[in-house]
């Protein structure tokens, strides 16, 4: 993976930014919420105190709640008019099975109504007048008005209307109560009306099941109804856009004031459906508020309320009626005389908060996107420039390695002041050292040969003089040997200075036009007698190959290649010399059937003082090989804008040295004229 893409990946870390921002927005939102909760709790507390001071006078639990009935009620025993209130029916069954009897009380302008639902699959039917009535399935309704209490036995031999008679004499309470009785497989239902001629304080309902005889005592409970007076004074206390409700200690609604309405409703906001969605998924806390609190239920059976009733204020959030709205609820206990008698629930619907949060979130998203884009672009550009610079440095380094530390021109980036500049300078220093070392190596042989020439001349001239002395015959042999050694030393010294001489010759070489094919042919003819037992194969192009270069030098390079091939090809082997025209260059190849080159040496073969010959290969009396021959070949190739290379032939057939020559650049007429 390139540096650029790595940096781009690093740029992705800016994605942490929106996350952090999101957290921040959420935190801010949470703080705002907390503030709102505190504010609402405070106002709920104030409200509760104000309300409690004048209105806490409802009976203590347990009570029978009298629902408000809106419409006229047909007393038919079917209970269709009660359907909405069914869930709020109070279980008044015997202690072992409370749900056996479920009672609903309701009131409207016409009077007080009662609906009793009894679960009793085994029926024993008799009329109320029947003496067996007390031991058959029946209900007992007890009413109390002031000091007077009357009990009515409710039973019916068949579904339909019935009359229930009071058991004792009384003055205020009615003598009879008319109602309707209906049955189905699982039980029976009784609906009856109590005329509102008298104010009833307490009431109770008992059930008797003939199959499970038990006490049919009707426990009297105080009646609790919605208090319009309290509601009015509560409405006066409630702040705008809020709703306050008061419940008794069993969560029955006593008073309600104010209305839940959204102050922000109708204000066109930036957040439509998508905004609400964003808010709901990203910011909104889990809305844990009880849904029970949403409507106009007669009983607020909600956790918040129960907590308040236990004496501890609580708050909660729930979704509002309209999507995206939130409702904040605060429930505080209502106390009277150091006793929790009920709770006050204050609600506030709010839209400002999600809007605010959404705006912040959208702003954040936009800013983050822009930041991400900018950071990405900047990092990409930076990465591109960085990798461009590193590539330049690498290319320069590779070039320098190829040329043994010689760089044409200055090291790139060497003037830069950052770490890459340091690296470039270090590279530059390294290459200078390598270059100096290479130069030293290259000139070492020729320098050394210079220094050796003088002592060699001393030895040789001394030996020459010695020849003219009268030496004993056995001493002459030593003199001859010394001469032989000096000769060999002379050869070595000459070979050592050869590269230097060739370099000078190359520097002074003058190009001319000639036929390369003829030159190679001539050389090949000269090599024939030298090849000995080795077979010399020559392959030349049929047509002349015009070439611009230094023929003497090319011939010398060819000599070196042939010499090399001859020394490596075994007796009876072969040497192949070929010339091809390749594009704008000429390709001279000298192959031989000698042993393969070690892979590591192939690149360095053409360097000065590099030889693959081991000492054992040299026959006695032969001059050592200094590894200058192929260096000369390389110099000649470079003079002709070409290169020398060596490779092993396929199938281990042998080794091939190739010389690719493009020709020397033609001088312009003015230059050659001034040169002459």
């Amino acid at each position: 993976m390139s540096l650029r893409f790595k940096l781009l990946l690093v740029a992705l870390s800016t994605l942490a930014l929106p996350w952090a921002g999101w957290q921040f927005v959420r935190q801010t939102e949470a703080l705002l919420r907390q503030g709102q909760e505190q504010a609402l709790l405070a106002s709920a507390g104030t409200l509760a105190k104000a309300f409690a001071a004048q209105h806490v006078q409802w009976p203590a639990a347990p009570v029978l709640y009298v629902h408000r009935l809106a419409q006229r009620v047909a007393v038919d025993g079917y209970g269709d008019d009660w359907s909405e209130l069914k869930p709020y029916a109070q279980a008044l069954g015997p202690a072992q099975d409370r749900q056996k009897l479920r009672v609903l009380l309701g009131a409207n302008a016409d009077g007080l109504y009662l609906l009793a639902d009894v679960r009793d699959a085994t029926r024993t039917r008799v009329d109320a007048r029947d003496p067996r009535a007390a031991r058959s399935d029946h209900l007992v309704l007890a009413l109390e008005a002031g000091a007077e209490t009357r009990r009515y036995l409710i039973a019916s031999g068949a579904p339909g209307p019935f009359e229930a008679h009071a058991d004792a004499a009384g003055a205020a309470l009615p003598e009879r109560l008319a109602g309707a009785w209906q049955e189905d497989g699982s039980g029976y239902r009784v609906e009856l009306r109590i005329p509102d001629t008298v104010r009833i304080d307490r009431a109770g309902v008992g059930v008797f099941d003939a199959s499970e005889p038990a006490d049919d005592t009707a426990e009297l409970r105080a009646l609790l109804a919605y208090d319009d007076t309290a509601a009015k004074s509560l409405a006066a206390l409630v702040p705008d856009h809020a709703r306050a409700r008061v419940v008794d200690s069993d969560a029955w609604l006593i008073a309600s004031g104010g209305r839940l309405e959204n102050p922000g409703a109708g204000v066109p906001g930036a957040d439509g459906t998508s905004g609400r969605l964003v808010y709901a998924t990203l910011i909104a806390p889990v809305l844990t508020g009880s849904a029970t609190l949403a409507g106009d239920a007669p009983r607020l059976d909600a956790a918040e309320v129960w907590q308040a009733l236990s004496g501890v204020a609580s708050t909660s959030w729930r979704a509002g009626e309209a999507g995206g709205d939130v409702v904040l609820t605060a429930a505080v206990p209502l106390s009277a005389a150091g006793e929790v008698r009920g709770a006050l629930v204050l609600e506030e619907e709010n839209r400002a908060l999600p809007m605010l949060a959404n705006r912040a979130l959208f702003g954040l998203a936009g800013a983050t996107l822009a930041a991400l884009l900018i950071a990405g672009l900047v990092l990409l550009a930076f990465g591109a420039s960085l990798s461009f610079r590193i590539r330049r440095l690498r290319n320069a380094a590779e070039r320098a390695v190829r040329t043994s530390g010689r760089l044409s021109g200055p090291m790139p980036l060497a003037d830069d002041e950052d770490e890459l500049g340091d690296l470039a300078r270090s590279f530059g220093k390294l290459f200078d050292e390598v270059g100096a070392y290479t130069d030293y190596l290259r000139t070492l042989a020729s320098k050394l040969s210079h220094e050796l020439n003088t002592p060699l001349a001393i030895v040789k001239s001394s030996l020459d003089n010695l020849d003219h002395q009268a030496l004993p015959a056995d001493a002459r042999a030593y003199a001859a040997r010394a001469r032989d050694g000096a000769e060999r030393l002379g050869k070595i010294v000459r070979a050592m200075s050869e590269a230097g001489r060739i370099e000078r010759a190359i520097a002074a070489a003058e190009a001319e036009d000639f036929d390369l094919a003829a030159l190679v042919a001539g050389c090949a003819a000269g090599y024939k007698p030298l090849a000995g037992t080795r077979e010399l194969r020559v392959r030349l192009p049929p047509a002349p190959l015009p070439f611009h270069g230094a023929p003497e030098l090319i011939a010398q390079a060819l000599d070196k290649l042939f010499d090399n091939a001859r020394s490596f090809a075994p007796e009876g082997g072969w040497i192949e010399l070929s010339l091809d025209a390749a594009d704008s260059a000429a390709l001279i190849r000298v192959a031989n059937s000698g042993p393969a080159l070690p892979a590591a040496m192939q690149e360095r073969l053409f360097d000065s003082l590099v030889s693959v010959r081991d000492a054992g290969m040299r026959s006695a009396g032969e001059t050592p090989h200094l590894g200058l021959g192929l260096y000369v070949v390389r110099l000649v190739a470079e003079l002709h804008r070409g290169r020398a290379s060596a490779r092993n032939l396929d199938d281990d057939r042998g080794v091939e040295f190739a010389l690719r020559l493009a020709g020397m650049p033609r001088r312009r007429l003015s230059e050659s004229a001034s040169d002459a």
Binding site: N453, A457, I458, D464, N465, H468, E498, R501, G522, C523
Partner: protein, 229 residues
């Protein structure tokens, strides 16, 4: 009366060897270690032949300086450079200053002696009339072997002893290819191929300086050189 040879060489061992070897051949030889010493001696008595090393003590080009001043005094005094500095540049510099030959130090005493006697022979010959039988003529080329003089279309071509011997070898059998070994043997030098090549190059240049159309020496690549018949 023995001929008087001066050797200017800063290396005492070599100087002693040369002095003794040449004295054995019957020359009267004097050795000098520095240019100043040689010049003061030459002011008293001029030698008949001078062998000079290019680097003299702390003067790297002292030999060239000495050659220049000697040539200024005498146009005919034979001067031989004998030096370890055998680069083409040094050879050309030495020959431009008017030296008669330029030898590398690994030359044998025998080869040195051959050149000395050739140079003395030429001096002798220059004083005598031209002997007809010693003249080789081939086209515009005329070689007077005794005087070691070569003319092309009547114009003098100033060749060194080594070069003269090479041309002589080529011209004796025009059209025959002479390989490098033959040329070396006849020119009484032992040098490498590159040096032979530069010798031939110099010879060509000297002829071309006389006649820009000169084209008589052929290179036969891989074999050697020949004089165009």
């Amino acid at each position: 009366m023995p001929r008087h040879i001066a050797i200017v060489e800063d290396e005492p061992l070599i100087r002693a060897n040369y002095v003794e070897a040449l004295a054995r051949l019957g020359y009267e030889v004097r050795g000098y270690a520095s240019r100043a010493e040689a010049e003061s001696a030459f002011a008293q008595k001029a030698p008949e032949l001078v062998i000079i090393d290019v680097g003299l003590g702390d003067e790297p080009d002292g030999g060239f300086e000495l050659c220049r001043s000697l040539r200024a005094k005498s146009a005919t005094l034979p001067i031989i450079f004998l030096t370890a500095r055998d680069s083409d540049f040094d050879v050309i510099s030495g020959l431009r200053l008017g030296a008669d030959d330029y030898l590398a130090k690994d030359v044998s005493l025998h080869q040195l002696a051959a050149r000395i006697s050739a140079l003395f022979r030429r001096m002798e010959a220059l004083r005598k009339p031209v002997a007809a039988d010693n003249v080789i003529a081939h086209g515009p080329l005329k070689i007077e072997a005794e005087r070691m003089r070569v003319t092309w279309n009547g114009a003098d071509v100033p060749l060194t002893v080594t070069e003269f011997w090479m041309v002589h070898t080529l011209v004796r059998f025009p059209g025959h290819v002479k390989n490098r070994d033959q040329l070396m043997r006849d020119a009484q030098v032992v040098v490498d191929d590159a040096t032979i090549t530069s010798h031939i190059k110099r010879i060509r240049k000297k002829f071309i300086a006389v006649d820009p159309a000169f084209d008589a020496i052929d290179t036969v690549h891989g074999a050697g050189y020949r004089w165009k018949p």
